[in-house]
């Protein structure tokens, strides 16, 4: 009796899933891109912001211009992975089942590692149903080094490249004599620290690294003790790769403890962070990032940004590179003449040179599928900011630029091509 109930329930679930997946696949001729990122849970705002930009970019940069392959439109299909590796793999399967061949993901290198691995296995096991992984934000260097594979393309500058650019700029600032490194205790945090040590040693051997430490990710309630150490160390600058609440907590504690020097970060912007720092971050917070919003590089870029903000109020272009993903993918599909043969599309994407809407040239390096582009050091400020974040009046303004950062950097990638 009870087992019957169980059976009925199981039948109901699967029916529901199939019905759900059918509901999502109404437009037949569109080229679908699966957007797999957190749309619920603590990182939902980041995910939703990325999703909005993808939708906007697909419409604005491709569909409104006649689509690809002579008329096919891009369609973004959202999948909520709740920032969980397990859930991502389930959603990946659902997406592939719906016939989607392009997978976009960015939040969390852990998830990206899981997806790149799963995509590699899937493509090997299902040669007639291969998919591409468009990584627009996960910056763990391993993804284009030890763990690289033919199906993965990274459009953001990785942690090493960003650090290379950051230290280029820091090297010119003779006031900096002591640097404090602090980050989250996981692959990305460790990569940032290792890169900082390496590049500072090479470019400014006189700079003393007065602290180099990792704290548990997402577990620290109160950053005050860390802030005390940083202030007491007499550092002239600190570097952190922290994101989310770890960035807010650390930044606020450090400023509150009386730290007056620059805080170089990777992710201290948008998603409420800019608003939270507000006045306190003025003159202190710096970001290393691709994609120049302020001052706008061109009328086209300004119009694009303004239109996005009008269409998606409450969201920012926090990840400008998404525009590159869409444009480059469209070009690659047109060049390959197919949206189903992933080997051809990947080959077209490999080595592609592209003039980005953000004023930089983007090269998809063939040897490791890492995009090479201009990387900027930006300041958190309210002055001369045309496009602010979080509607707070504060935003990011480019202070200095490293052209085609790390274009000839080494990689350990040993790409196996089909």
């Amino acid at each position: 009796m009870n087992l019957f109930t169980k059976s009925l329930m199981a039948a109901a679930v699967t029916t529901g899933v199939v019905a759900g997946s059918m509901a999502a696949s109404y437009a037949a001729d569109n080229i679908k891109i699966a957007f797999i990122d957190p749309l619920s849970g603590p990182f939902a705002s980041t995910g939703n912001q990325g999703l909005s930009h993808y939708k906007f970019a697909a419409q604005e940069l491709v569909n409104s211009k006649g689509g690809v392959l002579g008329g096919a439109n891009f369609e973004i299909v959202a999948f909520d992975n709740k920032i969980s590796a397990k859930e991502s793999l389930i959603q990946l399967k659902v997406a592939i089942d719906q016939g989607i061949r392009f997978i976009a993901q960015g939040n969390s290198s852990g998830v990206a590692n899981a997806i790149t691995d799963a995509v590699k296995k899937h493509n090997r096991r299902n040669p007639d149903q291969q998919v591409l992984f468009l990584n627009y934000s996960a910056v763990d260097p391993a993804l284009t080094n030890a763990k690289c594979n033919f199906w993965h393309f990274r459009f953001d500058a990785n942690a090493d490249i960003k650090m290379d650019a950051l230290t280029d700029v820091m090297a010119t600032n003779k006031d900096i004599k002591k640097v404090y490194l602090i980050g989250q205790d996981y692959s990305f945090g460790k990569a940032v620290a290792a890169a900082a040590v390496k590049f500072l040693k090479a470019k400014r051997p006189d700079v003393e690294i007065v602290g180099n430490e990792l704290h548990p990710i997402g577990k620290v309630k109160d950053f005050t003790p860390y802030a005390r150490k940083i202030v007491s160390s007499g550092a002239d600058a600190m570097i952190t790769g922290n994101w989310g609440s770890d960035m807010v907590g650390l930044g606020k504690a450090v400023i509150e403890a009386g730290f007056e020097n620059p805080i170089y970060t990777y992710y201290a912007a948008s998603d409420g962070i800019t608003k939270t720092f507000g006045e306190a971050g003025e003159g202190k917070l710096k970001l290393v990032m691709e994609g120049q919003l302020n001052p706008p590089v061109s009328d086209r870029a300004a119009a694009y940004t303004a239109k996005f903000e009008a269409q998606y109020p409450g969201y920012d272009i926090g990840q400008p590179r998404i525009a590159n993903v869409i444009e480059m993918l469209a070009k690659a599909i047109d060049k390959a003449g197919t949206a189903t043969d992933m080997v051809k599309v990947a080959n077209a994407l490999e080595g592609m040179e592209h003039d980005s809407i953000w004023g930089t040239k983007v090269t998809m390096r063939a040897k490791d599928h890492q995009a090479i582009q201009d990387v900027h050091i930006m300041a958190h400020t309210a002055k001369d900011v045309k496009f602010d974040f979080d509607s707070s009046g504060y935003g990011l303004k480019v202070e200095s630029t490293v052209k085609m950062a790390s274009a000839d950097s080494a990689t350990t990638c040993n790409m196996k091509r089909p």
Binding site: E213, E256, G272
Partner: protein
């Protein structure tokens, strides 16, 4: 040395904050025998209500109003939820409060969303009270210390000098007897639950601007609170105080000093392997004190429970 003093003060703030949660939880546990898994969620509610009220009328009314609102909510939950579940036994009660913790987190996200709130300390307290060797000590933290001590003194007064306090104290030692004495036990239960949750809410209001007001704040603090009262001894107020301060300092000092395992291992005569990345023990060699800081309370709990199952100050075993 100056850093040491600053850390003592910072640890005191953390410890006292923890104690404001633990004291309410201990009271509730002593009276009702139920470990309120959702206690930290009331702390979160306090922070959110405090924030919401502060956007209308400022921080100070929020400090008064938010705990009252949360206390009333807490009492209502005791009256209409917990009392119902009580008849099924302790394990369902614990499951109920666990479910409540989940629910409150969802409700908070329903109303306030998932991002961090811009909950600011009052402008009047936004200055450095003093500074030790370049390290500023914010006036707000001094204020936190005074609030926590104030709440503790009021609690102590009520417990030792008033009739209702006597009954509660008696319940600490002889829960059955008090039940049989003909006091309006359900009403006292409801009151204690309300006051306990209100105290958590006070902690929430004063901690919100410092530790951040976001949906994960309850979970982040929640398990530490249980660990603390288990270490202190379930039902012991003084045990809760001692354990709170102990954990406050433990966490502060663990984060403050970069002791490295490698130094320790070298000191006892081991040599660091040349190719650390390849070694199976690489994690051991690269371990630092701040890294293990967050797990120290759990380790301490397991050690205490293994050696003294009733906790440091616990009188009765559950």
């Amino acid at each position: 040395m100056s850093l040491f003093i600053v850390n003592i003060l910072d640890g005191l703030v953390t410890g006292l904050l923890l104690f404001m949660l633990c004291s309410g939880l201990t009271l509730i546990f002593s009276m009702m025998g139920v470990l309120n898994f959702a206690h930290a969620s009331f702390y979160m509610l306090g922070a959110y209500f405090g924030y919401q009220i502060s956007t209308y009328v400022g921080f100070w009314p929020g400090l008064i109003l938010a705990p009252i609102i949360v206390g009333v909510i807490g009492a209502a939950i005791e009256r209409y939820g917990l009392r119902r579940v009580h008849q099924y036994g302790h394990v369902p009660e614990l499951i109920f409060t666990f479910g409540l913790a989940l629910l409150i987190e969802e409700v908070v996200q329903f109303f306030w969303g998932k991002s961090q709130m811009a909950f600011e300390a009052p402008a009047a307290l936004k200055f450095a009270a003093f500074s030790i060797a370049g390290n500023a000590f914010p006036a707000y933290k001094v204020f936190m210390i005074f609030i926590a001590i104030g709440v503790f003194l009021v609690l102590l007064y009520i417990l030792t000098k008033t009739r209702i306090g006597m009954i509660i104290q008696a319940a600490l030692s002889y829960p059955e007897t008090v039940q049989n004495l003909g006091h309006n036990v359900p009403l006292i239960f409801m009151g204690v639950f309300g006051v306990g949750t209100a105290m958590a809410a006070i902690a929430g209001v004063i901690a919100g601007p410092v530790l951040g007001t976001f949906p994960g704040m309850a979970v982040l603090l929640g398990s530490i609170v249980f660990v603390t009262i288990v270490i202190g001894g379930l039902g012991s107020l003084w045990g809760a105080l001692l354990a709170s301060l102990l954990i406050g300092w433990l966490q502060t000092f663990a984060a403050a000093y970069n002791l490295r395992m490698a130094d320790l291992l070298t000191a006892i005569g081991l040599t660091e392997p040349a190719d650390l990345a390849q070694s199976l023990l690489s994690d051991l060699w690269t371990l630092t004190l701040p890294q293990v800081g967050p797990i120290l309370p759990y380790l301490l709990m397991i050690i205490v429970l293994a050696l003294r199952p009733q906790g440091l100050f616990g009188k009765r075993e559950t």
